[in-house]
C-alpha cells in the first residue's frame, strides 16, 4: 500500500487544510484512488470553490425558466410544448496545448451536456480569444482551434451558427475557447441527473475508457507555467463519429420509458458523473470497475475513476429495461455495460474483481467541498477619455484602420470552415447579429448569440459586465427575436489575487444588474479561473451566450441593405 505523503497530496492539488478535511471525512487515511476522487471533486473546475458565493447572486428566475443553474444545462420554455436547452463551457487550457483536439473535445463536451437532458442539439456557437495577431503562436492556434471546432461539429452534423473572436496580447499564452450548444427538447420529456431507486442498474455507454487526460480536471484549474507545454499526454483525442452515434442512440432510448437518470461523463469522468448522480438523488452507489469497457490492458481503478476519455455517458435504468436498452446501443455499435447498482448506503463503494478498493461517504464529501470567500478589491476607476484625448485622423484613414482591425475584420475565413447549414433549418447564417435556426417543421425560430467586450470589462468590470449582457440582448432583438435567457462563461485570472477577484465580483454584479433590468435570467454557465501566464492575467472575459425566440421567421431582420432609395435611421442614444 502506498502511504499518502505530503508530496502526493500536493500533486493532487489539495492544500494541507483540505487534506486535513479529507482525513476527517474518511476517518482514516485514504488510499490513492480515494485521494484521486477527492482531488477531482474539490478542484476549482468541479467545485466552483472560489466563484460559488458570487454566482449565487445572479438572477436565475423567470416564469419561462424550467431549469436554472445546477444541472447539465439550463432550460427555458419556448412555447408549443418545446424547451430550449443550452449552456456554454470553456476548454481553454487543453486548446492552448493542442488546439485542434482541445477545441474539438470542447465542442463534444458541451454537446453532451445538452443532449444528456433529452434535447437534440440544433446549433453550436463559439466565443474565442487569441493573442495578438503578430505573436508567433497565434496563427497556429487560430487555425488549429477553428479546424478543431469545425472538425467536430461538422462531423456530428450540428450547425455552427455564431460566435465571436477577439485578439489581445493578454491571451498570448492563454487563449480562450468557449463553446456553446443549443438544443430543443419536448418540455414534457426532459431528463435529469438525480439517481433514484435502490437496486436500479447503473449503466455505462459510449466509448471505451482509456488513459486519457488523467488529471485533466486538476490541470484545468492550475495556473499555466513554463513547463505546461510538457504536460502533453493529458490531451484527449475527440471522436465526433462516436458522438454522433451516441446522440442518436440516446435520443432513441429517451423516446422510451427506460431512463431514471442520465449524466454525461465530463471533465472528471466517472468520478464526477457517478458522484453527482448519487449525491443529487441522496443515494449510494456501488460500482464494479472491472466491468467498465476498457481500451487498454492493465488499467487500474485509479485510472478508471479519473480518466477523461470522451464520448461516454452514465445512465440509471428502470430495472428490466437492460436488454431493450442494450439492443439500441448495439444497433449504433456502441459499448454498453451494467457497471453498478444504486444503494441506500449514502456511500460510494468501488469494487475491483469483487474486492472493495474504495469506500467514500457521498454527502459529507460533496457538502464539505470547500467554498471560499476570497478577498477582493474593487477595480480602480480609469480617467474618462474626452474627444481631445483621441488623435485626430482623416476620416478615410480612420475608417480603413478600423475596418482592418483584427477585432472588426470579416470572420468569414472562420465560419466558412464550419458547416452552418446542416440540419436544414438555418434561417440566418453567421455574419449577422445573431444566428437564427428554425424550430424544425414550424415557422418559429430560435435566435442566438455570444458577446463580450473584454477591454470594457477590464476598464470597469461592473459596466463591462452590464454591457456584455446588453449587447447580447441587442443582438437577439436586432434579428427580430425576443431575448429570453442567458448562459455565461466566466474567464478570469487567478482568484487568489484580490485584484482579479475584484474583477470577477464586479462583472457578476454588472451582469446581475443588467439581467434584472432586462428580465433576462441566467440559466446556466461555467467558470474558468487561473487564466494566467507567468503571473500575467488575461483580460477579464465574462462571455455571454443568449437565446431568444422569433414568432414568424418571415419577419426576421438581417443586416444587409436591401435596395436603393431606402431610408437609413439611427435608433437609441
Amino acid at each position: 500500500m502506498s502511504a499518502i505523503t505530503p508530496e502526493i497530496v500536493a500533486q493532487h492539488g489539495l492544500s494541507a487544510d483540505e487534506y486535513k478535511l479529507v482525513l476527517e471525512i474518511m476517518g482514516r487515511e485514504p488510499n490513492l484512488t480515494e485521494l484521486g476522487i477527492f482531488s477531482v471533486m474539490w478542484s476549482e473546475h468541479c467545485s466552483y470553490k472560489s466563484s460559488k458565493k458570487w454566482l449565487k447572486t445572479l438572477p436565475t428566475k423567470a416564469p419561462w425558466v424550467i431549469c436554472g443553474p445546477g444541472e447539465n444545462a439550463g432550460i427555458i420554455d419556448i412555447g408549443d410544448g418545446l424547451a430550449a436547452v443550452f449552456k456554454m463551457e470553456s476548454h481553454n487550457h487543453p486548446s492552448f496545448i493542442e488546439p485542434y483536439q482541445g477545441a474539438a473535445t470542447g465542442v463534444g463536451g458541451i454537446l453532451r451536456d445538452v443532449f444528456t437532458m433529452g434535447a437534440r442539439p440544433v446549433a453550436n456557437l463559439n466565443a474565442l480569444r487569441f493573442g495578438s495577431p503578430d505573436h508567433p503562436k497565434t496563427r497556429h492556434l487560430v487555425s488549429g482551434v477553428v479546424a478543431g471546432i469545425g472538425g467536430y461539429g461538422n462531423c456530428v452534423g450540428v450547425p455552427t451558427v455564431g460566435g465571436e473572436v477577439n485578439f489581445h496580447s493578454s491571451y498570448n499564452g492563454n487563449i480562450l475557447v468557449n463553446a456553446m450548444t443549443v438544443g430543443v427538447a419536448r418540455a414534457d420529456n426532459i431528463f435529469y441527473s438525480a439517481a433514484a431507486g435502490v437496486g436500479n442498474p447503473v449503466v455505462y455507454v459510449g466509448s471505451k475508457t482509456g488513459r486519457d487526460g488523467i488529471h485533466g480536471a486538476t490541470m484545468a484549474s492550475a495556473e499555466f507555467n513554463e513547463d505546461s507545454e510538457e504536460k502533453r499526454p493529458t490531451v484527449q483525442v475527440g471522436d465526433p463519429f462516436t458522438e454522433k452515434l451516441l446522440i442518436e442512440a440516446c435520443m432513441e432510448l429517451m423516446a422510451t420509458d427506460a431512463i431514471v437518470a442520465i449524466q454525461d461523463m465530463g471533465a472528471a469522468g466517472l468520478t464526477s458523473s457517478s458522484f453527482e448522480m448519487a449525491s443529487k438523488g441522496g443515494m449510494g452507489v456501488e460500482l464494479e470497475l472491472d466491468k467498465v469497457p476498457m481500451r487498454e490492458v492493465g488499467m487500474t481503478p485509479y485510472e478508471l475513476m479519473l480518466s477523461e476519455s470522451q464520448e461516454r455517458m452514465l445512465i440509471v435504468l428502470v430495472p428490466g429495461k437492460e436488454e431493450m436498452a442494450k439492443a439500441i446501443f448495439d444497433k449504433w455499435e456502441l459499448d454498453f455495460a451494467v457497471i453498478g447498482t444504486l444503494t441506500d448506503s449514502g456511500r460510494m463503494v468501488l469494487k475491483w474483481h469483487g474486492e472493495v478498493v474504495g469506500d467514500l461517504p457521498i454527502d459529507p464529501l460533496a457538502a464539505a467541498s470547500p467554498e471560499y470567500d476570497r478577498p477582493w478589491e474593487p477595480t480602480p476607476a480609469l480617467p474618462v477619455l474626452t474627444p481631445a484625448d483621441v488623435e485626430e485622423k482623416p476620416w478615410g484613414e480612420a475608417l480603413s484602420t478600423l475596418i482592418a482591425s483584427p477585432d472588426i475584420a470579416s470572420r468569414r475565413w472562420i465560419y466558412q470552415q464550419y458547416d452552418h447549414m446542416v440540419m436544414g433549418d438555418t434561417a440566418q447564417r453567421p455574419g449577422g447579429d445573431a444566428g437564427v435556426v428554425r424550430l424544425h417543421g414550424s415557422n418559429r425560430a430560435l435566435a442566438m448569440t455570444t458577446d463580450c467586450t473584454p477591454r470594457y470589462v477590464a476598464a470597469d468590470p461592473v459596466e463591462g459586465g452590464k454591457q456584455a449582457v446588453a449587447e447580447a440582448y441587442r443582438n437577439i432583438s436586432a434579428v427580430g427575436g425576443l431575448p429570453l435567457a442567458v448562459t455565461d462563461n466566466m474567464n478570469f485570472g487567478n482568484p487568489e489575487k484580490p485584484r482579479i477577484m475584484g474583477q470577477f465580483v464586479g462583472a457578476c454584479q454588472g451582469m446581475g444588474e443588467a439581467c434584472i433590468a432586462l428580465d433576462f435570467p441566467v440559466v446556466s454557465g461555467n467558470v474558468s479561473l487561473y487564466n494566467e501566464t507567468a503571473g500575467q492575467p488575461i483580460l477579464p472575459t465574462p462571455a455571454i451566450g443568449a437565446v431568444g425566440t422569433i414568432e414568424d421567421v418571415d419577419t426576421m431582420a438581417t443586416v444587409a441593405f436591401k435596395g436603393p432609395g431606402e431610408s437609413i435611421v439611427v435608433l437609441g442614444g
Partner: protein, 231 residues
C-alpha cells in the same frame, strides 16, 4: 413515385434531403438503415445523403461503400433505378464504383461551407430537366474532400461522354480557376454515370430548396426527378 434515403452511421443530411424530397413528392421517402438488405422492389429513386459516414475515417465514403445495403443499391442502379449521391453520398458512390473518379482533400486542405455557383451542363437528364440550358444556379457546398480527380484518360472519357453534370463557376457562369473552389479537375462539381441514371454531386441542392433558407435553386433538381419518375 417511390424514393428511399439510405442512412449510414454518421449520415447527417439524411433528414435534410428527406424534407426536400417530401416537398417535391408530396410524401415522405422511405428511410433505409445501412444494414438492411430488404429493399422494396418498386423503388424509383435511391438517395445516398451527405454527412460523415463512419466519420470519414480512412477515406470519405470508403467504409459506407461496403455496407450491406450498397450491394442492393448497385443491383438497382444496374437495372436503371435512379441513384442520387450528395456530398458524402457522391464520395460513397465513387468508392462503390458506381461513378468514375475519386474525391480528394480540398486543395487548400480546409473545410469549405458557402454558397457557390454552378453551371448546369446538361438539361436532358431526369435530374436536371427542370433547369434551363446554360443556367447558372446558386447552391451551398460543405465539404472537406470535394476535390474531384480523374486521370487524363478518364477525364477525356467523362468529358467525351457528356458525363459532367455541374461545374463550379462564377455568378455569371464563367468556369475558370478563380471559381474552382477546391481544385477539382475541369471544375467538376458533379458527374453522371454513362447512362445518366446515377448522379453524384458535392454541392447540396437540398440546402437551398426553401425560400426561408435563402434560395430555391436546388428545388428544380427534386422537381425534375418527381416529374420524370411519377408514373
Amino acid at each position: 413515385m417511390k424514393a428511399a434515403v439510405i442512412v449510414f452511421p454518421g449520415s447527417n443530411c439524411d433528414r435534410d434531403v428527406a424534407v426536400s424530397l417530401e416537398k417535391s413528392m408530396g410524401q415522405k421517402p422511405l428511410m433505409l438503415w445501412h444494414r438492411t438488405t430488404e429493399v422494396p422492389a418498386d423503388l424509383d429513386l435511391i438517395v445516398v445523403p451527405g454527412g460523415f459516414s463512419y466519420g470519414d475515417y480512412l477515406r470519405s465514403g470508403a467504409m459506407a461503400a461496403h455496407s450491406p445495403v450498397m450491394q442492393e443499391v448497385k443491383e438497382r442502379a444496374a437495372k436503371g433505378v435512379r441513384v442520387l449521391g450528395i456530398c458524402n453520398g457522391f464520395q460513397i458512390l465513387t468508392e462503390a464504383g458506381l461513378l468514375p473518379g475519386a474525391l480528394m482533400r480540398n486543395r487548400d486542405l480546409k473545410f469549405i461551407c458557402r454558397d457557390v455557383h454552378l453551371t448546369v451542363e446538361r438539361t436532358d437528364t431526369d435530374f436536371t430537366r427542370g433547369y434551363a440550358k446554360g443556367q447558372v444556379i446558386r447552391v451551398p457546398v460543405a465539404h472537406h474532400d470535394g476535390n474531384y480527380f480523374a486521370d487524363d484518360s478518364l477525364l477525356e472519357r467523362i468529358e467525351g461522354n457528356g458525363q459532367v453534370a455541374f461545374r463550379y463557376a462564377s455568378a455569371n457562369g464563367e468556369v475558370s480557376e478563380a471559381s474552382n473552389i477546391n481544385g477539382s479537375r475541369n471544375n467538376i462539381a458533379g458527374v453522371f454515370n454513362e447512362a445518366g441514371t446515377v448522379l453524384g454531386m458535392m454541392p447540396h441542392p437540398e440546402r437551398l430548396a426553401d425560400p426561408q433558407l435563402g434560395g430555391i435553386d436546388g428545388k428544380p433538381l427534386f422537381d425534375s426527378l418527381v416529374e420524370a419518375l411519377c408514373k
